[in-house]
C-alpha cells in the first residue's frame, strides 16, 4: 500500500495536469483554437472539401493582414455520418481545447455537434446548416448556436414563390428523406408557401441508404407534376435527376442549397431537365464582391469555381475573426475564451462574400437568397433580398 501511494499521487498530478481547468482569459498572443468539424469523406464530401477550402483562404488572408489575432485551425472529419459528429466534436473540445467549433454542413449532423458543444459550454458557428430548429430549440441545442447562412423558413418560402411565380406550377411533388432534418424542414416550408399561393403538394419519401430510385422516379413521373422538389442532398438528387431523364419529360426540378455541389452535374449526367436551386452564392454572379472571391479561389485552387459551401466557409472564418477582434477589444487584448467569443458574435455585423451578415437576436442573419440554374454549370438566375 505504501509503495502504491507515490504512484497514485503521481497519477493524480498527471490527471490534474491533463484535465485541469483552464484559467479564464488566456494570455494575449496565444492563438485562438478553432475546432472545425466537417464531412471530409463519405456522401457529402464535396461540402466538407469546399467549406474547408474557403476557411483556409480566409485564414491565410487574415494572417497576412492582421497579425494581432492568431488562429490555430484543427480539422476533424465527421465522415458524413451522424454518429461520428459527436465524438469528433468532443475530441476537438477536450483534446484540442477548441474555444469555438465551426461546422458542420448537414443540419442533422450539426445538431449532434451542437448538443456536445452545449454540454461543454463552447459556442458553435455553422457555416451552412439551414434547419430552423438549430437556433429555435434553445433547450436542446443551447443558446450559443450561430450561423452565417439563412434558414430554411426563408429558403423554403422563396422556393415556393419561385415555383409558383416563375415556373407557373400549381402541382408539385416533394421528395423527402425523413432521416434528414434539413429535408423535412425545407419541404414543410416549401409546402406552406406553395399551398398558400394556391398549389397542391404530394409528398413521396425516399431514404439515403437506398441506391436505386428508379421506381420512385417512375412513380413521380406518373403523378404528372408541374414541378418536382428534391428536398435533400446532391448524392441522392443527382442520380434521381439522371434517372428522371425519360420519366419526368422535362418537368423542372427544384431544390435547396443541398444541391450546391460540383458533383451534382456529373451525377445528374446529360439531361434536358431544368434544374433550379436556392443557394447562398454562385460564382457566375457578377457582383464585384462575389467575383473578387472567385478570383482568389481560382488562384488558390487550380482554376476551380467556388461553390456556396466555399463562400460560407470563408464567411464563417471571417465571422470568427471579427468576433475575436471585438472580444479582444472588450477584454484588454487577452486571447478570447469561448464565452467571450459567443458574446462577441451576438449582434456582430460585417460584409461577407455571401452578402451583409448581421447576427441578430435569433443568431441567424437575414440574407439574400440566390436562385441558380444548373445547366452544364451553375448559372445565376436571380437574387432575392429579404424583406
Amino acid at each position: 500500500m505504501r509503495r502504491l501511494l507515490p504512484s497514485f499521487r503521481l497519477a493524480v498530478l498527471v490527471a490534474a495536469a491533463l484535465f485541469g481547468a483552464v484559467p479564464e482569459g488566456r494570455a494575449g498572443g496565444d492563438p485562438v483554437v478553432v475546432g472545425v468539424v466537417l464531412p471530409m469523406s463519405g456522401d457529402n464530401a464535396t461540402f466538407g472539401e469546399e467549406s474547408w477550402n474557403g476557411i483556409k483562404i480566409a485564414e491565410a488572408e487574415i494572417a497576412k493582414k492582421d497579425p494581432s489575432v492568431a488562429f490555430k485551425l484543427i480539422l476533424a472529419d465527421e465522415q458524413s455520418k451522424r454518429e461520428q459528429v459527436g465524438p469528433a466534436t468532443k475530441t476537438l473540445i477536450e483534446n484540442n481545447r477548441a474555444a469555438i467549433v465551426v461546422g458542420s454542413v448537414a443540419s442533422s449532423n450539426t445538431m449532434q455537434a451542437a448538443i456536445v458543444c452545449k454540454e461543454a459550454g463552447v459556442p458553435i458557428l455553422t457555416p451552412a446548416s439551414t434547419n430552423d430548429k438549430l437556433t429555435s430549440e434553445v433547450e436542446k441545442y443551447g443558446e450559443d448556436v450561430f450561423r452565417v447562412c439563412f434558414q430554411d423558413s426563408f429558403q423554403g418560402t422563396m422556393l415556393g414563390r419561385f415555383a409558383t411565380k416563375t415556373l407557373k406550377a400549381k402541382k408539385a411533388v416533394a421528395l423527402v428523406d425523413k432521416g434528414q432534418a434539413y429535408s423535412v424542414g425545407l419541404a414543410a416550408q416549401f409546402e406552406k408557401e406553395f399551398v398558400a399561393l394556391g398549389g397542391t403538394v404530394v409528398t413521396e419519401y425516399y431514404t439515403s441508404a437506398d441506391k436505386d430510385y428508379t421506381t420512385l422516379v417512375q412513380k413521380v413521373g406518373g403523378l404528372k407534376p408541374e414541378v418536382i422538389l428534391i428536398s435533400g442532398y446532391y448524392p441522392q438528387a443527382g442520380p434521381m435527376i439522371k434517372l428522371g431523364k425519360d420519366a419526368w419529360k422535362g418537368v423542372p426540378v427544384i431544390g435547396g442549397d443541398g444541391l450546391d455541389s460540383p458533383d451534382l452535374l456529373p451525377l445528374a449526367g446529360e439531361t434536358d431537365i431544368k434544374v433550379y436551386f436556392t443557394s447562398h452564392f454562385v460564382a457566375s454572379d457578377t457582383d464585384p464582391l462575389v467575383q473578387g472571391f472567385v478570383t482568389k479561389y481560382q488562384e488558390a485552387y487550380a482554376g476551380a469555381d467556388p461553390g456556396a459551401m466555399a463562400a460560407l466557409g470563408y464567411d464563417a472564418m471571417y465571422a470568427v475573426y471579427e468576433a475575436a477582434k471585438k472580444a479582444m477589444a472588450a477584454n484588454g487584448g487577452a486571447t478570447p475564451t469561448g464565452k467571450q467569443l459567443a458574446a462577441a458574435l451576438r449582434g456582430l455585423e460585417f460584409t461577407g462574400v455571401t452578402g451583409k451578415i448581421v447576427i441578430g437576436p435569433d443568431r441567424t442573419p437575414r440574407k439574400a437568397v440566390v436562385i441558380v440554374q444548373a445547366a452544364g454549370n451553375f448559372q445565376f438566375v436571380e437574387k432575392i433580398l429579404p424583406e
Binding site: 469523406s41 463519405g42 456522401d43 464530401a45 464535396t46 472539401e49 477550402n53 465522415q79 425523413k178 413521396e204 419519401y205 425516399y206 431514404t207 441508404a209 437506398d210 441506391k211 436505386d212 428508379t214 421506381t215 420512385l216 417512375q218 412513380k219 413521373g221 406518373g222 403523378l223 448524392p235 443527382g238 442520380p239 439522371k242 434517372l243 431523364k245 425519360d246 420519366a247 419529360k249 460540383p262 458533383d263 452535374l265 456529373p266 451525377l267 449526367g269 446529360e270 457566375s284 481560382q298 488558390a300 485552387y301 487550380a302 482554376g303 476551380a304 469555381d305 445547366a375 452544364g376 454549370n377 448559372q379
Partner: protein
C-alpha cells in the same frame, strides 16, 4: 390435374417475364408509370440481384459456405470498371459513334469481372482453403471478417478512398481547339489533374457547357490548366444498361448451365457438391474445383458491380453492401445451392420490391426484402426451387 396446375404456375411467370423483356428490347418501356414500367424496372433490378446471387449459391452448393465477402467482390469489380473507364482512354478510338462508347463499357465489364474473379481466387487460396477443415462456423466468421477487411482496405487505399465518386461518363475525345461556337448545345467536360491541395484528383468538373461560359478568356484559362483535356461527354442511358444487364443474365445463365451440366469441370463440381471425400477418391481435384467455383461466382459479381454502378452513376466502398445483402436474400428465397433458384429468387425479389415501392411505399422497400425472406422460409424452408431437405439417419 395438380401436375397441370403446377406447370401453369411455372409457365405463367416465365411467359410474363418473356413479355416484359420483349417490350424492354422493343423500347416501349419508361415514362408513364404503368404496371409494365414497374415490371421492367423490377426485372432489371432483379437481374443484378440474380448475378450476385449466382455466386452465393454456387459457393454454397460446393462448400456449404455463405460467402459474405461476395458483396465486396462486387464492389472491387465495380471499382476496376471505374478505373478502366476513367483512365484507359478506349473512348478515344477513331471508330464511328457509338462504338467507342459501347467498347469502353464492354471493356469495363470484362475488367470488373476479371478483377473480382482474381480477388476471389486469392481470397479462396489465402483465407478459405487453410481453414476448410475447421468447420462451417469458422469459415462463416472468416467470410464476415474478409468482408469487413476488404471494405476498410478500400476506404483506406488512396486511389479508392472513403468518398463516393460519380461514375465516369465515357468521354469522347475532342481537342480544345475543336470546341465549336457557344451556340452549340453540347456538353463539354474538363479534367483538371490537380486538386485544391495539390495531389491529383479525378473529380471531373464541368466548367464549360451549353456554350454559356465559353468565352475566349475562359478557353484560355482552361488551356493554361495543367494538362487540360476537353472531351465531349458521351453517355450510356440507363435504359441501355438495363437491356445489357438482362441480356447478360440470359447469356450467363445459359453458359453456366452448359458448364455445370455438360463439361467435365461441371461434373466435378456436382460431384464435390455431393461429397468431398468421395469425389477426391474418384480422382477429382477438389481444390481446383472449389477455386473454379469461386472464380465463376465472382466473375458474375464483377459484371453485376460494373453494370449496377454504371446505371446508378456512383461508386463507393460500400457499393457492394446492400446489393450483396439483397442477393443473399434472393439466393435463400430461390433455394440456396440451386442455380435456377438464384435466378428465380433474384428476379422475384427485384420485381416484388419494385411493385411494392410503386404501389405501397418507397420508404419501406428495403424492409420488404427481409419480410419476404421470412415469409418464404416459413412456408418453404428450402426456398422456391430448393430441394427438400432429407434427414439422414
Amino acid at each position: 390435374m395438380t401436375l397441370r396446375l403446377r406447370n401453369l404456375a411455372r409457365a405463367l411467370p416465365a411467359l410474363a417475364l418473356g413479355y416484359v423483356v420483349a417490350r424492354m428490347f422493343a423500347g416501349d418501356v419508361g415514362g408513364d408509370g404503368t404496371l409494365l414500367d414497374y415490371l421492367a424496372i423490377g426485372t432489371a433490378q432483379g437481374a443484378i440481384y440474380a448475378f450476385v446471387a449466382l455466386g452465393y449459391t454456387m459457393v454454397y452448393g460446393v462448400i456449404r459456405l455463405i460467402n459474405f465477402a461476395h458483396g465486396e467482390f462486387f464492389m472491387v469489380g465495380a471499382f476496376a470498371g471505374y478505373f478502366v473507364l476513367r483512365d484507359a482512354g478506349i473512348e478515344k478510338l477513331a471508330w464511328p459513334q457509338p462504338w467507342p462508347l459501347v467498347a469502353s463499357y464492354a471493356v469495363a465489364l470484362v475488367a470488373g469481372a476479371l478483377a473480382a474473379a482474381l480477388l476471389a481466387l486469392l481470397a479462396e487460396a489465402l483465407c478459405y482453403r487453410p481453414i476448410r477443415k475447421a468447420g462451417r462456423i469458422a469459415a462463416l466468421l472468416t467470410a464476415v471478417g474478409l468482408s469487413l477487411l476488404l471494405q476498410n482496405l478500400a476506404r483506406q487505399w488512396p486511389p479508392i478512398g472513403p468518398t463516393q465518386r460519380p461514375w465516369p461518363a465515357p468521354r469522347l475525345w475532342a481537342a480544345a481547339a475543336d470546341v465549336p461556337s457557344p451556340a452549340d448545345g453540347n456538353y463539354y467536360e474538363i479534367r483538371t489533374f490537380k486538386s485544391p491541395s495539390g495531389e491529383s484528383v479525378d473529380r471531373e468538373k464541368l466548367v464549360v457547357a451549353k456554350g454559356q461560359r465559353l468565352t475566349p478568356a475562359n478557353l484560355q484559362r482552361l488551356e493554361a490548366l495543367p494538362g487540360p483535356q476537353v472531351f465531349r461527354k458521351g453517355e450510356l442511358s440507363p435504359a441501355l444498361v438495363d437491356r445489357s444487364i438482362v441480356l447478360m443474365l440470359g447469356l450467363s445463365t445459359l453458359v453456366l448451365w452448359f458448364l455445370v451440366q455438360r463439361t467435365k469441370t461441371g461434373k466435378a463440381m456436382r460431384a464435390v457438391s455431393e461429397d468431398h471425400a468421395a469425389a477426391r477418391l474418384m480422382g477429382v481435384n477438389v481444390n481446383r474445383v472449389i477455386a473454379a467455383t469461386f472464380f465463376l461466382g465472382a466473375f458474375l459479381a464483377g459484371l453485376g458491380g460494373v453494370a449496377f454502378c454504371a446505371k446508378y452513376g456512383q461508386v463507393d466502398p460500400l457499393s457492394g453492401f446492400m446489393p450483396g445483402l439483397k442477393a443473399f436474400i434472393a439466393a435463400v428465397v430461390g433455394g440456396i445451392g440451386s442455380i435456377p433458384g438464384a435466378v428465380v429468387g433474384g428476379l422475384f425479389l427485384g420485381v416484388s420490391e419494385n411493385l411494392f415501392a410503386a404501389y405501397v411505399s418507397t420508404e419501406w422497400k428495403d424492409a420488404l426484402a427481409f419480410v419476404l425472406l421470412v415469409a418464404v422460409l416459413l412456408s418453404k424452408p428450402t426456398g422456391l426451387l430448393g430441394r427438400p431437405y432429407r434427414e439422414k439417419i
